[in-house]
């Protein structure tokens, strides 16, 4: 009826345009007011509110808006649509394009919906988009994965991997992937969160596990709350499954923005440089006496890092896990760098299994996205003792050595105090200029004198009249050779510096490394079998 359509002012397609508007309305309504109120009452935002919060105003362009299950009357006239349980699209974050998506918990708890083509989560359209257009992917995770009710709807059960993680895995070598766990994640969505370069969960309102309390009860007879099973105390601090904790959803989204601010759009680009407000030649007097005179006293390595890097721009990854290592994205002269610093407050900085895992992940992250690494070294070696051996410290530690030996990214090694043994080897990059700078407080070797003397001179010490005194004598004798200046004479460290020169020197080398970074752009080849 052309006339009627003309009257409505919408041209020949007015009815269809109306229907489009109506269908978009159904999508915007999500799971309806009651379910939205329930989501808010639980202290959570809806997926659409989350997208609005994290992206630049007005930049979200939805894709798959109309996907859902239509409800029609006998005359096949549309009554309503239950939208699909995933909202996806492209947007800008700080002006840079991203692909973004998340489960809609207000519809069937965000369980997967079973259309012709998935929108996101495990592969799906949004992940294809990130892959083909080479842009970061942001996952806003709030769902429990498959539901047994899907089988009834479908008429058969699917084989694992029909909606697989192939694309999710592929993305890890191509574009930054950041995930926020914003509710209770189990099954597929939980797995999706792990396949990320950076993940964050909210304290109090989010939990993550392979399977939740009902399955645990059924399988093992254990009664446990979801917070005990998969709250941040377990998932972040103990297991390291998720990287960071956020106080609120707002904080979690801000952390993702922060993470992405250090990342290039993809592995074919340099990481973004910001104007350097903090002078690159800033000599920090506070560095002069930060290392205590007594070598048995710990000091605040985090403070040391903050005195060196560009002010107020650093972002610590995994602050509560594997605390013997500090891993931080930061900037030097406006250029992104990855800081790996040993923490003498935890086991004197000795590398335990968790610290090794943390260092490995961070080295791989920086190597993949061409972010130069700066090691601030104070490591007495691998952690020792029965628990450390049971935890697999030796294997995890050697995996760190293996990974360091494959680094391609420019790497600077700054020895603050101790650098011993195999853990010390994991702080250098022999594929680069292998620049080892040291403070005058630096000391190194295959193992610290103390333990080494007792082992190497056991008979001599036992035979002495006063074994303790003989041990001390031998230690003093050997320590005389441990002066860093003697190593510098042999050019076995390239330079010993005044601690106050740390920032100017690091900034200079990081600027020099830029051309080298540029010729090394592209994906990293995988080599060999990691131990």
């Amino acid at each position: 009826m052309p006339d009627r359509k003309l009257e409505k002012g919408g041209g020949f397609w007015a009815a269809q345009i109306d229907e489009l508007e109506q269908r978009r309305g159904f999508a915007a309504d999500m799971g309806g007011p009651d379910n939205i109120a329930r989501q808010h009452k639980a202290g959570r935002l809806t997926v659409r509110e989350r997208i609005e919060r994290i992206t630049d105003a007005g930049s979200f362009r939805e894709v798959g808006t109309l996907a859902g299950t239509g409800d029609y009357d006998e005359a096949l006239k549309l009554k309503g649509v239950t939208p699909s349980t995933y909202v996806a699209g492209t947007a800008r974050i700080d002006g840079r394009p991203v692909a973004i998506g998340g489960e809609d918990f207000t519809i069937r708890g965000g369980t997967s919906f079973g259309a012709q083509r998935r929108k996101g989560g495990q592969g799906g359209y949004i992940e294809d988009l990130a892959h083909h257009y080479k842009m970061p992917l942001v996952n806003l995770i709030d769902g429990a994965g498959g539901s047994v009710t899907s089988a009834k709807r479908r008429g058969f059960v699917t084989f694992p991997g029909v909606d697989g993680f192939e694309r999710s895995v592929e993305l890890l070598g191509e574009v930054p992937v950041a995930s926020a766990v914003l509710g209770t994640a189990a099954g597929g969505p939980a797995g999706r969160a792990i396949l990320s370069h950076f993940s964050v969960m909210v304290d109090g309102t989010s939990q993550i596990f392979a399977a939740g309390p009902p399955v645990v009860k059924r399988s093992l007879g254990q009664t446990i709350s979801k917070e005990e099973l998969g709250g941040p105390a377990v998932a972040v601090t103990k297991a390291g499954s998720i990287h960071n904790v956020a106080e609120t959803e707002h904080d979690a989204l801000a952390q993702i923005r922060r993470f992405l601010s250090f990342m290039p759009q993809n592995v074919w680009e340099l990481p973004p440089r910001l104007p350097a407000d903090d002078p690159v030649d800033r000599r920090e007097e506070g560095l002069l006496d930060i290392v205590p005179e007594q070598r048995t006293r710990p000091y605040d390595m985090k403070k040391l890092v903050e005195l060196v890097v560009d002010k107020d721009l650093s972002f610590e990854i995994r602050p509560t896990y594997g605390r013997a290592i500090i891993t931080m994205l930061a900037r030097l002269g406006g250029r992104p760098v990855g800081i790996v610093a040993n923490n003498p407050k935890i086991y004197g900085g000795a590398m335990d299994a968790d610290a090794a895992r943390k260092q490995i992940h961070f080295m791989e992250l920086c190597d993949t996205f061409h972010i130069p690494l700066v090691f601030l070294v104070d490591v007495p070696g691998f952690m020792v003792g029965l628990k450390a051996e049971q935890d697999g410290t030796l294997r995890e530690g050697m995996r760190a050595v293996y990974m360091a030996a494959q680094l391609k990214v420019p790497t600077l090694t700054m020895v603050i105090r101790k650098c011993y043994g195999m853990a010390g080897m994991a702080t250098c990059n022999k594929n680069d200029i292998d620049l080892k700078l040291a403070w005058p407080s630096g000391e190194w070797g295959s193992l610290p004198v103390e333990g080494g003397v007792a082992a190497a001179f056991r008979r001599e010490i036992e035979a002495a009249e006063d074994p303790k005194a003989r041990e001390k004598e031998l230690e003093a004798e050997l320590r005389a050779y441990a002066s860093p200046f003697r190593t510098a004479e042999a050019l076995a460290v390239e330079e010993i510096i005044d601690p106050r020169e740390t920032r100017p020197i690091l900034c200079d080398y990081i600027a020099l490394a830029e051309d080298r970074l540029r010729i090394g752009l592209g994906p990293r080849a995988k080599a060999g079998v990691a131990p």
Binding site: Q294, T296, R297, P298, P344, K345, I346, Y347, G348, A350, P380, M383, V384, G385, K387, P448, E450, G451
Partner: protein, 73 residues
């Protein structure tokens, strides 16, 4: 009155105890020093209060998360 358990962050041994039961402690004040990996690990009061009990003795081995002392505040 709240009781705060002060626990060991590390496996190691007690080197020196700087306070006695009944002493008042300020937040951040040194209570004892542990030794682990040839390093001195200071144990500081997480809250201000009174040292209600010290649960370890010098030279005693301690495990991670072991309770070292109690502070009442």
């Amino acid at each position: 009155m709240a009781t705060t358990q002060v626990t060991s962050e590390v496996i190691g041994s007690v080197w020196k105890i700087e306070k006695a039961e009944g002493d008042a402690v300020a937040e951040g004040e040194l209570i004892m020093i542990l030794e682990s990996m040839k390093m001195e690990i200071p144990v500081e009061a997480p809250v201000a209060g009174t040292l209600a009990a010290i649960k370890v003795k010098p030279e005693e081995s301690v495990e991670e998360d072991q309770v070292l002392c109690l502070i009442e505040s």
